[in-house]
Structure formats: structure tokens, C-alpha cells
């Protein structure tokens, strides 16, 4: 992974409140082990497949595709609630998502984003999920903490102390860099 750029540009997928980990990656796919490369890719192909069709007629993943066309997910309150499965941020990361912008996060999901370095979990300062629409293009600036969509700028909360950890690709790389654990042989 390594250091990522502070600018993320791409299509936006919008979801509402309380998207739990079963909707991000349904339990039946938890037999896939994220550290096995093929199964990591496969997890990506199922990202957000648990969103009910009646509420989300536009699907996040196209059937048969391993990658999503959406780089940014915009959400409401309590994104990632439910189980502690790290498969959730990993499925989204494996599908090609680079950042989530939510009003708030469930604790374990937020932590798993940071620990794995898969995604930037950014917090919005207003209810973007009611304003933005799936398919719009956005420009997310992590240093300036802003999102620009169709010429309009929305301010975001600063990522703060977790940004350098994700920049490094997760806690292990970060801890090594800081000398907290020994360098890899």
C-alpha cells in the first residue's frame, strides 16, 4: 500500500444511517480469509452486497466485477456498526474504495480502517447523505479536509492522529516506523 496521496477523486456512492457490517459484507462470505490473496479479492467483489435492493436499486458492485466504480462512499450516522469483522473495511478496500465520509462511525469499524490502512474514515460536519447523490463525482482533499462536488465545497472534520497511520498502510508499518516494534527481518 504505502503512502497515499492526500487527494482522492472519483465517483460517490451514497448510503443512509446505520449501515452495519452485515450489509457491508454478509456473514455467509466470512468463510473467506482476508490474508489469502485470492480470497481478499473475492471479498472485494461482495462489498456492500447486503444493502437491500428496494432501498438501493443502484448496486455498488456490478455482477461479475471484482472492483467497484465508486472511490468514495458517503454515509449517515453510525456507519459500520455491528460485528467486529475486519472483513468489512477490507471488502471495501479490496473493491477499490479509498475513503468513507460519514456523519459518525461505529467504534470497531473506525479502528479497523486505521489498523488495516484500507480506508480513510472521514467524518462530515453536515448530513451529506441527504445532499449528495450516487454517481456524482467528488474531489476529496484529506489535508484541507474538504470535499468538492459539482463546484460546491463541503467541509469535513480533520482526520488528525489517524491519518499518518493509514498513510503508512496500517498499524504495523506505522509502529515499525515509530520504533514501537522491531523492523521486519
Amino acid at each position: 500500500m504505502g503512502a497515499m496521496s492526500a487527494l482522492i477523486e472519483g465517483s460517490i456512492f451514497v448510503v443512509k444511517d446505520n449501515i452495519d457490517t452485515d450489509q457491508i459484507i454478509p456473514a455467509q462470505y466470512l468463510n473467506l480469509v482476508p490474508t489469502i490473496p485470492d480470497e481478499y479479492e473475492k471479498l472485494g467483489s461482495y462489498a456492500l452486497i447486503g444493502l437491500p435492493e428496494n432501498l438501493y436499486p443502484t448496486r455498488f458492485m456490478t455482477d461479475g466485477k471484482m472492483k467497484t466504480e465508486y472511490a468514495i462512499v458517503v454515509a449517515g450516522r453510525n456507519f459500520g456498526c455491528g460485528s467486529s469483522r475486519e472483513h468489512a473495511p477490507i471488502a471495501m478496500g479490496a473493491a477499490g474504495v479509498e475513503a468513507v465520509i460519514a456523519e459518525s462511525y461505529a467504534r470497531i469499524f473506525f479502528r479497523n480502517c486505521v489498523a488495516t490502512g484500507e480506508l480513510y474514515p472521514v467524518e462530515s460536519t453536515s448530513r451529506l447523505c441527504d445532499v449528495l447523490k450516487t454517481g456524482q463525482r467528488g474531489k476529496l482533499d484529506l489535508d484541507a479536509s474538504s470535499l468538492v462536488v459539482e463546484g460546491k465545497t463541503y467541509s469535513l472534520k480533520a482526520l488528525g492522529e489517524v491519518k499518518p497511520v493509514i498513510d503508512e498502510g496500517g498499524i504495523f508499518n506505522f509502529a515499525r516506523k515509530q520504533g514501537l516494534i522491531a523492523a521486519q527481518q
Binding site: N18, D20, D22, Q23, P26, A27, Q28, L30, N31, L32, V33, P34, T35, I36, G50, P52, N54, R77, N78, C81, G82, S83, S84, R85, E86, H87, S104, Y105, A106, R107, I108, R111, N112, A115, T116, G170, I171, F172, A175, I181, Q184, Q185
Partner: protein, 456 residues
């Protein structure tokens, strides 16, 4: 300091900590299971090398429990990954599904779902197995790769769920950087009235604060009402702290805790020394509310999340297709006994599945006699489909052949802990959470039913 702050201070070697501090915490026990264990092991090997050793082979507890009784080949392989790792590392506490240490695990669907398919060392659902096998101790830090690890907070310890990467870090170092949470206090007074169970208490509390009402926070349950609860009931409450977004739940230590823990550590020969944390006089809470248990009524959390609180008696118009009793939180012996009290001598009207949390529960139900009949047979005569294969089963859906899984859209009432869309299988199913009493009464009528009229 609050109980949780005291635990953080002790585990980080500091005399004082404040909410918001990030501290390195020494871990007493790390638990993992078949769904997150293989990934955790993968992270550990990737980061510490193929020949690395875990930090302490007596402090890692591995409990296969989620996808065990399924013919799904990847799930069976995942149990084998755990078994190889245990052998390689000499892990002391591994509750294998089978007795052959050199074998591999294959569920045999031809024997059916109901008949026992596990060996003598199998322990069942991790959060219920941990205390039963003597791995929960007051004053300790328990981390697990499962969000309901918070259940062990019933034992006056800090217990929370973590992801595979964090768990891989703990496997190698025995430590983790954690943030000290703020504490919310739930002061319980009064006694539970007839027909009301611990499950109703926690569903009521979650309804009160909202299902993200405790995000990043500790939930401390104290007061005479808390001390009057037995350990099973405290576990039911602590289990669902995560359903309000809580980082952990914590109860005070008392004689009830001591009796339970001492008995289990002795029986299993696990570490018997511990040092509880006692409450300080000056505890600072970010929320402090008293709940009178005697005022509670049978409560339900409606689809689609655990915060959708309603009273059972107000939901009589909700028709049901299925009832389910099981899981770490609702599959204990006391839960089945409550269920059996309601259905004894009657017949359920809808498909009803019973999955004990642990093999011990199976034995207890088969050997507890009411007027000469075992509780197990009373449940079966009432039409409950009881499996001896203790596991998570349909609590989280699982592979398509999982016992009790909702494979098509339907309404299900359940004694489990989570009801997000798709949680028990089909994403268009609706799941209603309730106490074993309420689930049992509803199974008899086919709609959501207040159980009080069924309890003499």
C-alpha cells in the same frame, strides 16, 4: 476513577488515567474463533514472520464456534487452519470440534443437523464458553476478535472486540494501544417483575439511549438491582453493550461473581488468582441514570435494529413465521429453562429452532428433570427443533445449510442479540429481538405475545 478507568490504569502501569488518553494496555487473555482466527493468524505470520511465536501460549484461547456444522468446505478448512496453528505454537487452550489432534474437520451432513457431531473437548459459543471454561477473571483485560467479547464485562473485567489486525498485533506482543473510554452509568434498582428478564433490561436501556448512544463509551451497571442479578443475567446485559455502540460493559464485583469464577477456574484448572477493581467514591460519569427494574415490561426490539424498542403487548399485530432460541446471549441453560416454563405441555404454532450455546447446556437440559421428564424432551414434545450441535448457528446467518437460517424472507422472533437486515440470513427477512419468555409465548401463538399470561 470509574471501574473501566481503574482497569486501564492497572493494565497500563499508571496510577491515573483520564478518558481520551491513549495507553498501551497489557492483555491478559486473547480469544479468537474460526471466522476471524485464520485472518488473525495470517496477519501475525505476515508481520512477525513464519517462525514467530505467540507472546504467551497460555494466554491465547481459540474456540471454533461460528461455521462448524456446515458442509461448506472453506469453513471446514478454516477450523483446520486453527488446528495447525495450535499444534505449531503449543497453544494450551483450544476447544477443538473433534478429538483427533491430527485429523481434519468435516461436518457430515448425512447424519443430519440434530445429532451430536463434536468431540469431548468442544466448548460451543466462545462468549459463553470463556466463563464456563474458567477464562474470565475479575480485574483482567480480555480482548477477542468478536464484537460480543464485551459479555465478559459481567465479570468485572475490561473486555472488548477487536479486528484481525489488532489481534495479530496482540498475538505477537501481548499489548495494544487503546483509548480510555468515558463511562456511562446505569444504576439499577428494584427487582425484575414476573415475566421480565435481563434481556428486557438491556433492550429497554438500548431503546433509551439509542443504538449508537454508547459509541466509544463504557457502560457501567451497578446498584442493588445489578447485584441482585445472577451471572447469566449479567452476561445477557453485558453482551448487548455493543448493540448500543458501547466499547465495553462493566459490573461491580461481589459474592455472586466470586462464587461463579472460583467454581469455574477450579473445575477447569485455569489460573485462579485475580484482583477485582472496586468502585472509587469519586467516579466521573458522562451520563448517570437510575432504572427501576420493577417498572419494566416484556420488551421487543423491532426490525431493523436493536434500538427499535416496543413493548411486547403493543406488537400483537406482528405475525411471525419462525421463532429461534440460541446464541451466546440467549442460549444459556437459564434461557432454555425460561423458554420451557412457557411451552411446557403446549405446542408451538410456528417453526421453532433451539440451539444451545454450549455442550454443557445440552447436558444440563437433558439431565434436568421436571416431573420425571427432561427439559430437553419437554421442549421437543412442544415441537421445538432442538439440535445438540451447540454453535452460533443462525444467529448470524452463516452458510446456506446452517441450522435455522432464514433462507427466504420471513418474520422471525429470536432470543439472540442483533437484528440488522440480513443478520440471520435473507436480507429481506425481519428479525425481532426479545427475551426467551417472549419468544416462547410468541412461538405458541404465531404473533408477538406478552408472556405474562403464560406464567402462572
Amino acid at each position: 476513577m470509574t471501574l473501566t478507568e481503574k482497569l486501564f490504569a492497572r493494565a497500563s502501569g499508571k496510577s491515573n488515567v483520564n478518558p481520551g488518553d491513549n495507553v498501551w494496555v497489557k492483555v491478559d487473555v486473547l480469544m479468537t474463533h474460526d471466522v476471524c482466527g485464520p485472518g488473525t493468524i495470517g496477519v501475525f505470520k505476515r508481520e512477525f514472520g513464519n517462525n514467530a511465536k505467540v507472546w504467551d501460549r497460555e494466554r491465547v484461547v481459540i474456540i471454533p464456534d461460528h461455521y462448524i456444522f456446515t458442509a461448506d468446505s472453506k469453513s471446514n478448512r478454516n477450523v483446520d487452519i486453527l488446528r495447525d496453528f495450535v499444534r505449531e505454537q503449543g497453544i494450551k487452550y483450544f476447544y477443538d470440534v473433534i478429538d483427533d489432534p491430527n485429523g481434519s474437520w468435516h461436518f457430515d451432513p448425512s447424519k443430519g443437523q440434530l445429532k451430536r457431531q463434536f468431540g469431548s473437548n468442544f466448548a460451543g459459543v466462545c462468549h459463553t464458553a470463556l466463563p464456563a471454561k474458567g477464562h474470565t477473571r475479575p480485574g483482567e483485560i480480555l480482548l477477542g476478535t468478536d464484537s460480543h467479547t464485551c459479555m465478559a464485562g459481567a465479570f468485572n473485567q475490561f473486555a472488548t472486540g477487536i479486528g484481525n489486525t489488532d489481534a495479530g498485533f496482540v498475538l505477537g506482543t501481548g499489548k495494544l494501544l487503546l483509548k480510555v473510554p468515558e463511562t456511562m452509568r446505569f444504576h439499577l434498582v428494584g427487582e425484575l417483575p414476573k415475566g421480565v428478564m435481563a434481556k428486557d433490561v438491556i433492550l429497554h436501556v438500548i431503546g433509551d439511549i439509542g443504538f449508537d448512544g454508547a459509541t466509544y463509551r463504557a457502560m457501567q451497571f451497578d446498584g442493588p438491582g445489578a447485584h441482585a442479578l445472577n451471572m447469566d443475567d449479567r452476561m445477557t446485559i453485558a453482551n448487548m453493550a455493543i448493540e448500543a455502540g458501547g466499547k465495553n460493559a462493566i459490573f461491580e464485583f461481589d459474592e455472586t461473581t466470586r462464587a461463579y469464577v472460583d467454581e469455574r477456574t477450579k473445575r477447569n484448572g485455569t489460573r485462579a488468582q485475580y484482583e477485582p477493581v472496586e468502585p472509587d467514591r469519586d467516579q466521573k460519569f458522562i451520563y448517570d441514570k437510575t432504572f427501576d427494574l420493577s417498572k419494566l415490561e416484556p420488551t421487543v426490539a423491532k426490525d431493523p435494529d436493536p434500538g427499535q424498542r416496543a413493548l411486547a403487548r403493543e406488537c400483537a399485530d406482528i405475525q411471525l413465521d419462525r421463532a429461534y432460541i440460541g446464541s451466546c446471549t440467549g442460549g444459556k441453560t437459564s434461557d432454555f429453562l425460561a423458554f420451557a416454563r412457557v411451552v411446557n405441555g403446549k405446542r408451538v404454532k410456528i417453526d421453532t429452532f433451539g440451539v444451545p450455546a454450549t455442550p454443557d447446556v445440552v447436558i444440563e437440559l437433558q439431565t434436568t428433570l421436571w416431573e420425571g421428564k427432561s427439559v430437553w424432551s419437554i421442549l421437543e414434545s412442544a415441537g421445538v427443533l432442538m439440535t445438540e450441535n451447540a454453535s452460533c448457528a443462525a444467529c448470524l446467518g452463516g452458510p446456506a445449510d446452517t441450522f435455522g437460517r432464514l433462507n427466504r424472507p420471513m418474520n422471525c422472533i429470536t432470543a439472540t442479540n442483533r437484528n440488522f437486515p440480513g443478520r440471520m440470513g435473507h436480507k429481506e427477512s425481519k428479525v425481532f429481538l426479545a427475551s426467551p419468555y417472549t419468544v416462547a409465548a410468541s412461538a405458541l401463538t404465531g404473533h408477538i405475545t406478552d408472556p405474562r399470561e403464560y406464567l402462572g
